[in-house]
Symmetry: C2
Subunit: 402 residues, 2 copies
């Protein structure tokens, strides 16, 4: 370690995904390859681990454990949602100096990019040499500066798998229980909800309707959409973003959200899909069923995209490479090659253009009616799922009635 220029601290932040540990593995593997890097510290529960000087020694982990991170969901270091304030700056610098930390890698989304940017500025202002290279991660896929975000492809694969299977269930129930809503993560961005269309194989397959925050639909249009779909095939499956809107800035049915408080004085929680379910029962007389897979979307490893796990690993390595090569601040990125063959290379972008920004679902990715993603979206998203997709081939009986 005599050649070491300094130590490295790596943290995980925000909601876990199935791929964030793969990025952690990438950071560790790359760090192990550079003599400039001394100790490899894991922040326990994100930036708070740094503030509390709670670090896990990553050099002492067995190679088996480090390798196993690539197929372990959730955040192995623990994570958190703490937002750094100027009050923390002195303490941060103190710990960085005391530990001789010269490399910081923070894996996360917009907020984490902001934290990384703050650390960079703080160190720069203090004249303390620090390389802060963030690693992207979010199932929301809303980070600027990168083709897509590690974590998103696997969550997309989960959503598509879930809609495909639960959609078959609704198809079989037919008129007995004809409508299903699956509520999908992404309060401000529809990327993950849009991924539901990847479930479609044959004409008429679920999901029949897809609603995202970026494309508000009026209550009347929604009812019309559902009615038409139901009349066409006696069942209807809806992929509904938890943040779907009826007008810009107005979540569907927000004025009908239950005002009653529970036994403890807390307001009952009623989401978009609860409202829409009530709407469809009331206006169309349909029995409506709901799936709320919630945290399974970001944790179910058996649905992980192999493309995602690999890319998450590569951006982790890339972050360390950039730091060791002298880059002072940035976020590792994925850059997609032009052309029909899917390939992404890794790159780097400045944190200034990323921190606190949100990349919304592009307008050309939703159809005119605002109720289904387009072919352009399919071209964008399909390769991210990896192969084989679908994971298991299904059949339908030929409807030879006798």
């Amino acid at each position: 370690m005599s050649k070491a220029k300094g130590n490295l601290a790596i943290g995980q932040s925000g909601g876990p995904t199935v791929a964030i540990n793969s990025s952690l593995c990438g950071v560790i593997h790359e760090a192990l390859a550079h003599d400039e890097i001394g100790e490899i510290y894991g922040m326990f529960r994100g930036i708070q681990g740094l503030l509390k000087d709670q670090f896990i020694d990553l050099r002492r982990q067995s190679t088996e454990i480090i390798k196993g991170l690539r197929r372990t969901p959730s955040a192995a270091l623990g994570t958190g949602r703490y937002k750094v304030t100027p009050n923390d700056y002195e303490r941060i610098l103190e710990v960085l100096k005391a530990r001789n930390i010269r490399y910081v890698h923070y894996i996360g989304g917009n907020d984490s990019a902001d934290t990384s940017l703050k650390l960079h500025k703080l160190a720069a202002d203090a004249g303390y040499e620090l390389h802060v290279i963030a690693v992207p991660k979010t199932v929301d896929n809303d980070l600027c500066g990168t083709d897509h975000c590690p974590g998103y492809p696997s969550a997309a694969r989960f959503v598509a798998t879930a809609i495909r299977d639960s959609g078959r269930d609704t198809e079989a129930m037919g008129p007995a229980s004809p409508a299903k809503i699956m509520e999908i993560m992404g309060r401000n961005a529809g990327w993950l909800t849009a991924a539901a269309v990847l479930a479609r194989e044959d004409e008429g397959d679920p999901p029949h309707l897809v609603y995202v925050p970026e494309r508000p639909v009026s209550v009347e249009q929604l009812i019309e959409d559902v009615k038409r779909c139901y009349e066409e095939r006696e069942y209807v499956v809806i992929a509904m973003s938890e943040g779907a809107q009826e007008a810009p800035g107005k979540t569907l049915g927000e004025e009908y959200a239950p005002k009653e408080v529970d036994a403890f004085g807390h307001r009952m929680k009623g989401g978009v899909s609860d409202y829409v379910a009530a709407l469809l029962r009331g206006r169309l007389g349909l029995k409506v069923r709901m799936d709320k897979p919630n945290y399974l979307q970001r944790s179910m490893m058996i649905c992980a995209s192999p493309v995602d796990l690999e890319e998450a690993y590569r951006v982790g390595r890339q972050a360390v490479k950039e730091a060791v090569a002298g880059r002072i601040e940035g976020m590792a990125t994925l850059i997609r090659d032009a052309g029909p063959q899917y390939h992404c290379s890794v790159g780097i972008a400045s944190l200034e253009g990323i921190a606190n920004r949100e990349k919304k679902l592009s307008p050309e990715f939703m159809n005119e009616a605002g109720n289904s993603p387009t072919e352009a979206f399919l071209s964008y998203a399909r390769p991210l799922l990896g192969d084989p997709w679908p994971p298991i081939p299904y059949v339908r009986l030929a409807k030879y009635f006798v």
Copy 2:
């Protein structure tokens, strides 16, 4: 077809599972092997298909499609929840006679066994020779007369997989978001909820608490349980049956179910886990997160148990074998060998002991405190998941703090 004694009608009933098509495949494969059987009719959407004389010709399906049923979730014939009444008897006999149906196989749970029994009695009373051999299916696992029910092992595998993965997510969030409730199917029987314990690998792994309808727990005990678990490890994961009770016959918090009506005059639906979440927020000040995978529990093929798919196929075949051998009524069953090595053979039981009965989770399968299944349950349920279990090995970092 000159040797044919009559035609066969096969139907699927109630909630679909990932294995019910495997049973359908078993019935078809076995039927194809017997010259006594002429046409093979699939009832379109359960018993209503018979009532409406809507049948799908299963002999005309390609062998590829029939084989593909073994890995296709949901009910390929369509299903329903129609309950036969005496008003339907004449019509049923009429269709049976007109179609010369001599073999009926109905795949389903308690209600379907009841339907099968009615068909048997109806035909017997009319002096019409009819072989009615039901095929068991239910994720609730609450059928009498069989060691377990096809469909249950796969749903159990889903639940265990989901708790394992979502539990890791909660572990990583720690104090930031420390409590998670997964709501699990089974309004009257706790078999599926109990399967959550199959997720445990290491001491202290989720789920930390498991509540089933058969073992009511008082609100105070529940709060004590959660408090203790949270204090032990800074997070707590709860597997909660949708039918968990606080006293015999009294669902947890049923008097707190929201009384407010929605915009359309319908009462808002609030389940057990919504109540318990409010309880834990109010009494312990914990942030609580929820997963409601609902229909994914019975449809997610990627989580299917290989043992289940195979057994479902075998009970389908068994039903036909029994019918062709002359048995007039019954349900195909699974009979577990004694001893440590898991093996089930197929058998037959009379419908009289099965129709409309429910097999509750055995008392010895829950611990004294009523908050966790026992080793005896693990021995019962573990072999049903098949191998490899867990599907993917995960790691944890060694907590070497520096």
